[in-house]
């Protein structure tokens, strides 16, 4: 207990000292790690139930584009735009999630349905190019430093926002973990009939985690857009980013609280490290290594880096990314 407490204090001190110590470039990297860590955590809230979604690009896209469009065209403050996009993402997740849960669309069928959803959102954004700028992306109208517009040119504000957001993500993950109970969770993802027989409402629990995950993902997308001030359908929706989210969570380990964050830390620092190390002459080098690592990770460390480290300590039997149906 004292050990945990000491680690918490050290962690908090480190997080608080970052804005005073880190140069802007590192601040930028840390903010990215926290924002994506939050999004990966949001994904793993449903991913660990065996609901492997390849559709989180859809929620990110809705989360990023709705507030940006409302601001650019109607100067609606992101304080309203972001909640609106979260509501929209939750509706979308219900429209897709309810029939999936109801009709038992699971495993790779679920993955493909959600993949289709992310394509629908991405292609709709591209198709509405008169409004959204299409593949060229959209720059959020800049008004300088403003709380109303949720725009802060320096890094400090967004660092604080990202830390709070990340902590909220961890808290929600923890609550979901506690709310259903670890045994119930495992039962649910391993054997639906068995879970139902011990009194777990499979449908309700699945739909609940889907909605929570979609809401947090849209929130993450919205804040990421406010931070970057530029959004693009390729980087915020569609197949590439959907897979990036899945892999970030899996590499870190989706069955543990900090796993997705570690995944974000590893993937983003690897990417940046290789980019700085190789320079632009080796475009693709980072993702080449990333791809190989992913394959190896899924084959040899299905529970991710954090899961593997924990197992070294505890020696539990290995378990797959998602249990067999």
């Amino acid at each position: 207990m004292t050990m945990r407490y000491a680690m918490l204090v050290i962690g908090a001190a480190l997080l608080a000292s970052v804005p005073f110590l880190a140069p802007p470039y590192f601040m930028h990297i840390i903010i990215q790690i926290l924002l994506w860590g939050f999004i990966y955590t949001a994904w793993s809230i449903m991913g660990r139930f065996g609901l492997v979604s390849l559709g989180h690009g859809a929620f990110l896209g809705v989360g990023a584009y709705v507030p940006a469009l409302l601001w650019n065209y109607y100067t609606v403050t992101p304080w309203l735009g972001i909640p609106a996009s979260v509501v929209l993402a939750v509706l979308l997740s219900v429209v897709i999630g309810y029939p999936c849960v109801r009709l038992r669309v699971v495993g790779h069928y679920f993955a493909l349905v959600t993949l289709a959803l992310s394509q629908v959102v991405m292609l709709s954004i591209v198709a509405a190019r008169d409004v959204t700028g299409g593949s060229l992306g959209l720059t959020i109208n800049n008004v300088g430093r403003s709380w109303y517009a949720f725009q802060f040119p320096g890094k400090t504000h967004f660092y604080a926002i990202a830390v709070v957001l990340w902590l909220v993500g961890l808290a929600v993950w923890h609550l979901v973990d506690r709310g259903v109970g670890r045994e119930a969770l495992d039962a649910l993802s391993e054997d639906e009939e068995a879970a139902a027989s011990i009194g777990i409402s499979v449908m309700r629990e699945k739909l609940r985690v889907t909605m929570i995950s979609a809401a947090l993902t849209a929130l993450g997308g919205g804040l990421y857009a406010q931070y970057m001030m530029y959004i693009n359908p390729e980087t915020l929706s569609g197949i590439a980013v959907s897979l990036q989210v899945v892999f970030g969570a899996i590499v870190g380990g989706m069955y543990t609280l900090l796993g997705p964050t570690v995944g974000s830390l590893l993937t983003i620092s690897l990417n940046e490290g290789l980019r700085v190390g190789f320079g632009t002459s080796f475009i693709g080098a980072a993702n080449t290594i990333y791809g190989i690592l992913l394959i190896l990770c899924i084959i040899f460390m299905p529970r991710g880096v954090v899961g593997a480290l924990q197992r070294l300590g505890r020696r539990k039997p290995p378990r797959a990314v998602a249990p067999a149906q």
Partner: protein, 284 residues
């Protein structure tokens, strides 16, 4: 009927041939090994680069370069199975899907590393010809014909050879074929090689019509999975029907609205059909 609409329909049908060929390859792997190769479209991309490298850069004869491209993608198929799928064959199917997702990242970035992000064309220009005021591209016609011949060849192979029969048997009942003296691992390797070869053939056909770039797989990959699933697992005729339905939707939609919107419509249709006909459009 409007002549331009007719032209769009014909182009849709011609595109459907290549999509059908790829859907057959994916369906074969899906049906036999029970794996979704999410990087299947990127194997096609790799094949297009092999063809580009050998024909446009090394100046091999076109036919030889095509054969080499088909053979190397078939080899890639075998390697995908041996290195990625086989070690995790016993785990949940979704793991295999995700592992090939890693392959997708690898192939796309490796291609970027080798060739950059430029659009490249093998530089073979086949003439178009006019039929009743419609311009028909002979590259597309050729692709359609070869795709049909390829699909027919696959059908004959699956019907007439022992290994083909074994492949069909395994798709029907995985547990029993071992008792018939069929080596499952052998069947899986042959299936992966055929799946790869079909992707290689499609790569040659697509190279006649499109420029290759590292992310070309993202443009038609998702469509392929939809086609394959819509057709129904292991249902080859269903797969061909689904390929033509989807490519017609895209061609006609592209004529009336825009290409993106017609894709949006096709993907939405896919989601809806998954809910009302989860086992394929032809299954009652």
């Amino acid at each position: 009927m409007d002549i331009y609409l007719l032209e769009a329909v014909i182009n849709g049908i011609l595109l459907g041939g290549v999509i059908a060929l790829l859907a057959l390859g994916l369906n074969l792997i899906f049906g036999v090994i029970d794996v979704v190769w999410i990087a299947y479209a990127d194997l096609v991309m790799a094949g297009m680069y092999v063809l580009y490298g050998l024909y446009a850069q090394e100046h091999w004869p076109l036919a030889l370069a095509c054969l080499a491209a088909i053979a190397s993608v078939a080899l890639m198929g075998v390697l995908v199975h041996l290195l990625i799928i086989a070690p995790i064959l016993g785990t949940a199917p979704i793991n295999q899907l995700l592992a090939t997702g890693g392959l997708l990242f690898f192939l796309q970035s490796f291609a970027t590393l080798l060739f950059g992000t430029d659009f490249r064309n093998i530089g073979v220009r086949l003439p178009s010809f006019e039929v009743a005021d419609m311009s028909i591209s002979s590259a597309r016609l050729l692709a359609f014909a070869v795709a049909l011949v390829g699909a027919g060849g696959l059908w004959l192979f699956l019907r007439r050879t022992f290994i083909g029969t074994a492949i069909r048997a395994i798709a029907q009942d995985r547990a029993i074929v071992g008792l018939m003296g069929i080596d499952q691992r052998h069947v899986y390797l042959v299936t992966s090689a055929i799946g790869g070869a079909l992707a290689g053939l499609a790569a040659c056909l697509l190279s006649l019509q499109y420029d290759v770039h590292p992310f070309i797989g993202n443009t038609f990959g998702p469509l392929l999975f939809m086609t394959c699933v819509l057709g129904g697992l292991g249902d080859m005729i269903g797969g061909v029907v689904a390929a033509f339905v989807l490519s017609l939707i895209i061609a006609i939609g592209g004529y009336y609205w825009s290409t993106e919107l017609s894709y949006v419509f096709a993907f939405t249709l896919f989601i809806v059909l998954m809910f009302i006909r989860p086992r394929g459009i032809l299954v009652r």
